[in-house]
């Protein structure tokens, strides 16, 4: 076998190079806009999103002796390396592999939280969270309510990599946030980069409610920022206005925020208009106030997400904005989303709501 590899290594290198080129081409549907504002004063370190998440979990394991981290393949650091070095540092009883069973992982995590431990569960890909849907929807989300507040599993956080990665096909690309946005009792959070990932993850872990933390996997390595080294949190249920303007409000979350920031830039350069860009951050409960205040100001709203259009979370936003901002709206609310198809492999460039589709929708909306 070794001989075969050596013999064909030239060919393999060529193949890998081509695959890498291919990956690069497919994954560059956005430019990363790093965060420049520091949420807290103090020492910072350059971290990509994977390192920021690792750092948040490191802080948790250090400060909270009940905290445990578990899932499929987390012991050696995780398939995306987010748990790297944590087992060596905190021991096998705190960072450990589970059998390959998502419903078990979620149920096990609920039990840990019920008995008073802080549980950080990892589902390897958000595409594989559906076997745990029952445990998350019927159990975790309803535990406090059904017991009259006697029991809860607020100390549970489920982390899972989500969204497009360039070549993930049907089961390594999904954005399932809307499925969970219909579940009272659950918090659903999506960060846009290293600084928000660390602050929001620490908030989720400390939150008294069960949280689903969706990590856009394409940002794990491509996004890099000066992240505060110390423990800090960012508020859950709060959106963030990243860019200000008066022509339109652009709303998104996760990777799509970077697409929208570029669209706003394009609009300014090509059309001479300025837009509000809002990172929703928390899908559930979501920040109605920030969103509606912006739309009341701009009178136009474009919502964009990678997940399919029909019953995507954009529908909830559009319906609420329509109800709250009816007299302020100058144009129909525009939704630019993934098509109503499973997430395809070779057609990814045509499937994603990229900057050109968003830009076109924005120009049409401005002309309306």
């Amino acid at each position: 076998m070794a001989g075969l590899v050596t013999k064909n290594s030239g060919l393999l290198v060529k193949l890998f190079k081509n695959v890498n080129d291919c990956t690069k081409r497919l994954s560059s549907h956005f430019i990363y806009y790093p965060d420049n504002e520091k949420p807290v004063e103090g020492e910072t370190a350059k971290m990509n999103m994977m390192q920021a998440i690792n750092n948040a979990m490191d802080i948790t394991l250090k400060n909270d002796p009940t905290a445990v981290l578990f899932g499929e393949d987390v012991a050696f650091g995780g398939v995306f390396r987010c748990a790297l070095g944590l087992q060596e540092k905190y021991g096998k009883d705190r960072v450990f592999n589970t059998p390959l069973c998502e419903q078990g992982i979620a149920g096990f995590g609920i039990g840990l939280a019920t008995a008073g431990a802080t549980a950080i569960a990892e589902i390897q890909f958000a595409d594989y969270i559906f076997p745990a849907f029952d445990q998350i929807v019927n159990e975790a989300a309803k535990a406090r309510y059904r017991s009259g507040g006697q029991f809860d599993c607020g100390a549970l956080t489920i982390r899972t990599p989500c969204s497009a990665v360039g070549h993930g096909g049907l089961y390594h690309s999904q954005s399932p946030e809307a499925f969970f946005a219909h579940v009272p009792g659950l918090r659903v959070v999506v960060p846009r980069g290293p600084i928000t990932a660390k602050g929001l993850l620490l908030s989720c872990i400390k939150s008294r409610d069960p949280c689903l933390f969706l990590e856009p996997k394409i940002l794990y390595r491509s996004a890099s920022e000066e992240v505060p080294v110390e423990d800090y949190t960012l508020p859950l249920g709060k959106a963030q206005v990243l860019r200000e303007g008066d022509a339109a409000t652009l709303i998104g979350w996760g990777t799509q925020i970077h697409v929208l920031l570029e669209v706003a830039q394009l609009a300014e350069e090509k059309l001479g208009v300025k837009c509000d860009v809002i990172d929703l951050q928390s899908i559930l409960p979501w920040d109605e106030e920030t969103v509606c205040n912006s739309v009341k100001k701009t009178g136009r709203c474009l919502i964009s997400h990678e997940a399919p259009l029909t019953s995507g979370f954009g529908a909830e936003l559009a319906a609420t904005i329509q109800e709250e901002c009816f007299l302020h709206l100058e144009a129909p609310i525009s939704r630019v989303a993934g098509w109503d198809a499973p997430f395809p492999h070779v057609f990814e460039p045509f499937y994603l709501p990229d900057k050109w589709r968003c830009y076109e929708a924005l120009t049409q909306m401005l002309k309306y």
Partner: protein, 433 residues
């Protein structure tokens, strides 16, 4: 797993060895590996050259452990647990109280006074036998037919009936259907309807207990033979074994899941046979014999805590009552079958005769106990019925730790709506500001 009897195993291996000696020249590979395990990482096993499929008849059925016979006599005196007389009487009184509560609440559902009920007939022995063997601090995850555990732990009939009525004294605030009890103070985790979901949760809770310094607590998880078919059951068994959790997994195998007999639920040797297959210490007991259940749970508890390992107990019983008040079980089983289990295999009857043989129970005591139990339930029901339901605003509390603005807004909308249409809603049955 209960392999064939020792003698037949010996005979079989003697035959095999003879065969190997004779065939050494033609089959050198057998002699060469000398029963050493192969090097596959997935199993520790030797090679054989004879193909041998295994099936459900490859093993003897797992036997059913019992302490008492049908007349309440101890079968083997070494197995009689040393439970003091007060506790024995308390166990029996709990069974009587449970049966009386079941009778009256079942009837009250039939009269439309509560919306739903599930009885525990035939399984009372599992409840009190297991509950008596546990420490009150052990955490209980139950399915729904384990009310005897709640009663034995000291949850009052009043608390249980308040839950069934969903009045303002129900700690669950009237949000769940009747029978979905829970009691934080007594370490009884609130029940939910989805089957088997509590199983991996119990395992996770056991893991959390294990990590507490000087842990002397375990978790017990009850489930039925039907629930054991759910994916969550397999998840629980496997996680409990691989993650070394001090949990007692107690299956109530009562022969039916609503109308489905066990013959349509599984083809193997019940639930117990699955335990060793997943590396779990396992025992099968007579669930109509409270002392057998007591012994099994007591030992399992000690083993689980001392070794941080799970134990599986399959308690065999018969669901004497209907599945629930929404079910008529004579539609799928004969009255004679039910009668047999009511008469000959009643856990109450066996336990009563045991107490009588010890001279700590009498017909007079029986009469007084029955009357007291019945009176308690009737009086409590009359009181529970008079109590108002919680304020309608409780409908929107406890969804989150703090109420998010959107839910606050919805509460306000409902408040305004009720101001406008107060006569359209049964507000007089609920508490007011």
């Amino acid at each position: 797993m209960a392999l064939r009897t020792g003698a037949s195993v010996l005979r079989l291996s003697a035959l095999r060895n003879a065969y190997r000696v004779l065939s050494t020249n033609t089959r050198p590979e057998v002699a060469q590996n000398k029963q050493k395990n192969a090097e596959f990482p997935g199993a520790k096993a030797p090679y054989v050259t004879e193909m041998n499929f295994l099936n459900d008849t490859s093993y003897d059925p797992i036997p059913i452990y019992r302490v008492l016979d049908n007349n309440g006599a101890v079968l083997d005196s070494r197995e009689e647990p040393s439970i003091d007389n007060d506790q024995l009487v308390n166990m029996y009184k709990t069974m009587v109280q449970l049966t009386q509560m079941d009778k009256i609440l079942y009837e009250s559902q039939r009269q439309g006074r509560i919306s739903f009920y599930m009885t525990n007939y035939g399984e009372e022995g599992i409840h009190v036998g297991s509950a008596a063997a546990l420490d009150p601090r052990d955490l209980v995850f139950a399915q729904y037919r384990e009310v005897g555990v709640f009663l034995y732990r000291g949850v009052t009939v009043t608390e249980l009936i308040n839950q069934c009525y969903g009045n303002h004294e129900d700690p669950g605030k009237g949000r769940q259907m009747p029978v979905h009890y829970g009691n934080k103070q007594r370490n009884l985790v609130t029940l939910s309807s989805p089957l088997a979901t509590q199983m991996p949760q119990a395992v996770g809770a056991a893991y959390a207990l294990k990590r507490q310094p000087d842990n002397d607590r375990c978790v017990i998880c009850y489930f039925g033979d039907g629930a054991a078919s759910e994916g969550d059951a397999y998840a629980a068994f496997n996680f409990a074994a691989t993650l070394d959790c001090p949990v007692v997994l107690l299956c109530r195998n009562n022969g039916y899941a609503i109308s489905t007999p066990t013959s349509e639920q599984y083809k193997g040797d019940g639930i117990a046979a699955r335990g060793p297959a997943l590396g779990i210490r396992t025992v099968r007991v007579d669930g109509t014999d409270a002392l057998a259940v007591y012994n099994a749970v007591k030992q399992s508890r000690e083993y689980a805590i001392a070794n941080n390992k799970p134990v599986l107990i399959e308690a065999m019983s018969y669901r004497v009552g209907h599945h629930s008040t929404s079910d008529d079980s004579t539609a799928y089983r004969s009255v004679e079958e039910i009668q047999k289990w009511t008469k000959d295999e009643s856990p109450l009857q066996k336990f009563k005769m045991y107490l009588e043989s010890k001279g700590i129970w009498s017909e007079d005591a029986e009469k007084t106990c029955l009357k007291e139990s019945r009176d308690t339930v009737v009086r409590t029901m009359q009181e529970a019925e008079k109590k108002k339901r919680p304020h309608w605003k409780e409908m929107l509390e406890d969804v989150y730790y703090e109420m998010p603005p959107r839910i606050q807004k919805q509460m306000q909308q409902m408040e305004e709506h009720l101001k406008k249409y107060p006569d359209k809603y049964p507000l007089d049955q609920y508490q007011t500001d």
